[in-house]
Amino acid sequence: MNRSNPLGAGLGLKAEHYDQALACDAEGLWYEVHPENYMVGGPRLAWLERMAERHALSLHGVALSLAADAEPDAGHLRRLRALIERVRPVLVSEHLAWSTWRGQYHPDLLPFPRSDEALKRISENILRTQEALGRSIALENPSHYLHLDGHDWDEIGFLTELARRTGCTLLLDVNNVHVSAHNLGFDAAGYLDRFPAQAISEVHLAGYSQDDQAALLIDSHDAAIAEPVWALYRHLIARIGPRPTLIERDGNLPAFSELLAERAIAQATLASAGALS
């Protein structure tokens, strides 16, 4: 049973791997799912409840749309709270992005200008969310593709201020930093060095793909973690110490054993940086 163990390196949980994932007892292992897939009845929910009896879970939302200029959907919050009460996750997180607008859901994590107005709105939305859920959440830095005007804040300053105003923690996605640094032209290691260590409650790793036409890197989660991302991760962990680390894989899904092997690299990195708590 892994529920009470310190969180080490975890894996995104896929239905294709259910039996192996349920049985696996690797040290520090935990699993993450998108709650939107389980905010229904039927077999999926029953499946997740069985997993929750044995393993620590994280709920990583993609649709609260915290950066929309609107309050989070009350029904969505109610369903998320109900799921939290059923599966008792150790971590709950969302993205610094928007996806729902005027009653329509656009399945992506969309950008916005980091303005003073946006800071105020998102702070209010996080506070409302945390009150509705009865717990704090972690907020993830997004991947960037567009050069966007109208920012009053840089991303790290914006995230730090959100954490200060709301008490939320930060989920640092190293692959997103690598992808964004390539696409927008900034120094990824420098970004990681400025990220507030004390606010980081979780780290994400993933693979990316390349859009040759637009010379962009895409946060596609459909490949193994690339060496530059591993290097950034080791650099980060050496500075901040061990933090629960999740390997995301959504496409070109390999065998569970292959994901476990990739996870073992992250677990070894965490172990070499000190005791997990």
Partner: protein, 251 residues
């Protein structure tokens, strides 16, 4: 760009769906904007393909790709739970199928949609045969059998929609000697998954009457009038086995 957050989001959505958004010209002229357009559209298309697998089996990947793209452009999801996306897709397919030689396609799409509804429905208590033990004939006549929210049924009078749907969904071959007759279908869900079975016209009429709030006695009369040779005892047993009803209530 000097837009409020809400104005930015209004314009961004217009641009996502290829509608004019002059205020965001500095964004839409970047090649990177296509990443967002593609991701949103692909998310919708993949959700529809996952929710309507039998339709794709019947029409092929190319037709399905075009149809789902067109539907997604016209009708984005209104719920982040994407298994709930596509309520209007059967009607959309109905309008498209005139150009195809697949007159039963919309009914197959309806059964795929029922599968999604049943698969994701919250579970409710259900009536068992033993619950009926000890009840008098008068009790039963007065009682109301309400179908559970995780149950769907329909009679299809133009073609063997249930058989066509089942073989498409399960990747089975269609037998040339399968009788081309009207069929009904019953789908019911529980925490183990979705089960389904063919249903006769009287059974569909019975469930329609139960759902409309008719007492058991009236509902059974409607069923027998619709299909005089209906074996009602057998039907009731099958429906109870399928956990089709909430516990009995009385007027």
């Amino acid at each position: 760009m000097n837009l409020s957050l809400g104005q930015f989001q209004d314009a961004f959505v217009e641009a996502l769906y290829q509608r004019p958004a002059p205020a965001l010209a500095s964004l839409t002229e970047q090649a990177a904007f296509a990443v967002y357009r593609n991701t949103v559209l692909c998310g919708c298309v993949e959700a529809l393909r996952a929710n309507f697998p039998s339709v794709e089996t019947l029409v092929g990947t190319g037709w399905m790709h075009d149809a789902t793209r067109a539907y997604a452009q016209q009708t984005p999801p209104d719920d982040a739970r994407l298994i709930r996306y596509g309520a209007g897709f059967p009607a959309f397919v109905q309008a498209l199928q005139a150009s195809q030689d697949v007159p039963y396609l919309a009914d197959v799409a309806r059964l795929d949609w029922y599968w999604c509804e049943v698969f994701s429905a919250h579970q409710e208590p259900y009536l068992t045969l033993s619950d009926l033990a000890g009840m008098t004939a008068t009790d039963l006549e007065r009682g109301h059998l309400a179908p559970r929210s995780c149950v769907r049924w329909q009679w299809f009078d133009a073609h063997p929609a249930y058989s066509l749907w089942r073989v498409s969904r399960e990747g089975l071959p269609w037998s040339a000697d399968h009788p081309w007759v009207a069929e009904g279908a019953l789908l019911s869900g529980d925490s183990d998954g979705v089960s389904h079975q063919p249903l006769q016209i009287g059974a569909c009429a019975f469930l329609d009457a139960c759902a409309a709030g008719q007492p058991l006695q009236v509902a059974s009369q409607i069923a027998q009038q619709t299909q005089p040779d209906l074996d009602f005892s057998d039907l009731l047993g099958r429906l109870l086995q399928a956990k089709a009803f909430r516990p009995l209530t009385f007027a």
